[in-house]
């Protein structure tokens, strides 16, 4: 496993409903990033289709793996890099049960997927109308480190990131489609999740305007000490290269040993009270 890796925060806008066009854009960005040495290129939540596709999502969703994943696997193989992106997943066992998924592919092909656990259905969001929530947090062992995946609103719930960390993730990747009025929350939470887990956290947000929602971008890499190591522009497309040095985790974990100090017995209590809110 590599100790040091180079990430590209692929902050793009999407053409809604046009998977071909979005794959093409991901390929262009991947090629560009690879030329600058990227080991991993990350794209936003639902970057395959765009975020506001509403009922069209039933036409756009695909199984994972499936044709679009295959196409992006091809790009990863060709450039010898890892790619994370978002797409609506059609469950293999059903005809119209969907998940909001994050997908990880690499030079070795399809590696894994994560199904978003917390689906915002309030204010302008209507995700529960379309998606079933996932049940499993995941951390994937790769040549570029152990990577945990979360999606957007999951970041408001520390247990999702925590679970990926407890499963070994050193780099938590949060792909997102967050509109402008929520920026302050994400800027605080990305830092918090990194610190409390002593892990790197890469946040990649969408840009562009979809049905009046202005996605604010501001993708970033946060170090295990909470320092913002790289930050993309607000509101416009941007590709930002940044470095992850896993050796940085040890000194922080020694200084703020949040994992050593975990109290598992509190989780039972949490469960009990959460059930009786």
């Amino acid at each position: 496993m590599k100790d040091k890796i180079k990430l590209a925060l692929g902050q793009i806008s999407c053409k809604r409903g046009d998977k071909k066009e979005n794959i093409k854009k991901m390929e262009e960005v991947t090629n560009k990033a690879k030329k600058q040495g990227a080991d991993l290129i990350i794209f936003p939540e639902l970057s395959l289709t765009g975020y506001v596709v509403r009922d069209q999502i039933y036409e756009l969703a695909e199984t994972i793996p499936g044709p679009s994943v295959k196409a992006i696997e091809g790009i990863a193989r060709k450039v010898n890099a890892y790619i994370i992106f978002g797409m609506p997943e059609l469950s293999e066992k059903t005809k119209a049960t969907l998940y909001n998924a994050a997908v990880l592919v690499g030079p070795e092909g399809f590696i894994g997927k994560y199904r978003k656990m917390y689906l915002p259905t309030h204010s302008v969001f209507e995700e529960k109308r379309y998606f079933r929530a996932g049940y499993h947090a995941t951390a994937f062992e790769t040549k570029i480190g152990k990577i945990g995946l979360i999606v957007c609103y999951d970041i408001f719930f520390p247990e999702v990131s925590r679970l990926t960390r407890l499963k070994g993730a050193q780099l938590i990747v949060c792909i997102s489609a967050s509109p402008a009025v929520r920026r302050a929350f994400f800027e605080a939470l990305t830092v918090a999740r990194a610190i409390e887990n002593t892990a790197f956290l890469a946040y990649v947000n969408l840009v562009g305007i979809e049905d009046g929602l202005q996605f604010w971008g501001g993708s970033r890499l946060v170090g295990p000490n909470g320092k913002v190591l790289a930050q993309a522009k607000y509101d416009e497309e941007d590709i930002v290269m940044c470095d992850v040095d896993y050796a940085d985790i040890k000194p922080v974990e020694t200084f703020v040993p949040t994992l050593r100090d975990l109290r598992p017995e509190l989780f039972d209590e949490l469960k009990k009270h959460a059930e009786n809110l």
């Binding site: 209507e126 305007i209 202005q214």
Partner: protein, 285 residues
Amino acid sequence: MRMHHLELKPSILNLDFQEVEIKIKRFIKDYVEKSKVKGIVLGLSGGIDSSTAAALSALAIGGDKVLGLILPEKETYNAKDVKHAKLVAKKFGCKTKTIDITSTLETFYKSIPEFDPTDKVCKGNIKARTRMIYIYYFANRLNMLVCGSSDKSETMMGYFTKWGDVAADISPIMDLYKTQVQKLAQHIGIPKEILTKPPSPALWPGQLAETELGIKYETLDLILYGLEHFMETKEIAKQLDIEKELVESIKRRWLSMEHKRRMLLTPKLEYRTVGADFRLPRNFH
């Protein structure tokens, strides 16, 4: 956006208007580009809302791509309003066309059997809808979008003509209360004489928005802001030191006007229904 315990004082309506300007301009430019149209048409009344919408359109896509239609008619003709409309157009480089719609209106009135000239609301609505037809004619003819000028206060109150002044392809200032539009207008440099003029839909002579609504915008906006934030009428009345009945009447009016904001109600009969569970993106860009 505030989410703490609300204190309904005027400053609660403050926004970072530089940021608001940027967001609205980006929204307009993005929508025009993706729609692949040649520009924007809008009605210019000389009032603050349409002046602001025109100015923002011009700042977003260039004044040469913005056509302001000045559509006066005899009954409510006010030379000052026409002057103000032209002033804004000139300042922001918009093109204008002035068309007197009096003869159209008169023909229209005459053609209606049992037309009642004393019913000023029905008659006034004809004016707003006639203007809409002119505006859409040019949008259609020139391959442009119609930009609406409705603000949040009048939209929440249903204080507009259904299919009339509210008809548009985009409504860039509809999420701003009137007093916020006033501040935004000032921020982007709308001439002072327009800022200080009392708002009027000008559907009949002497019509004034605040008289007709029965409340000053400064108070109305705070009430509406409270309602938007799920405040109870009792609490709003207490904080603003006004009658609870007044707040309740505003709330009733806001709720009863939803039919003017949501279009095309139909009984649910089939699998997916327009306006109910046909949930589609507005466009695919």
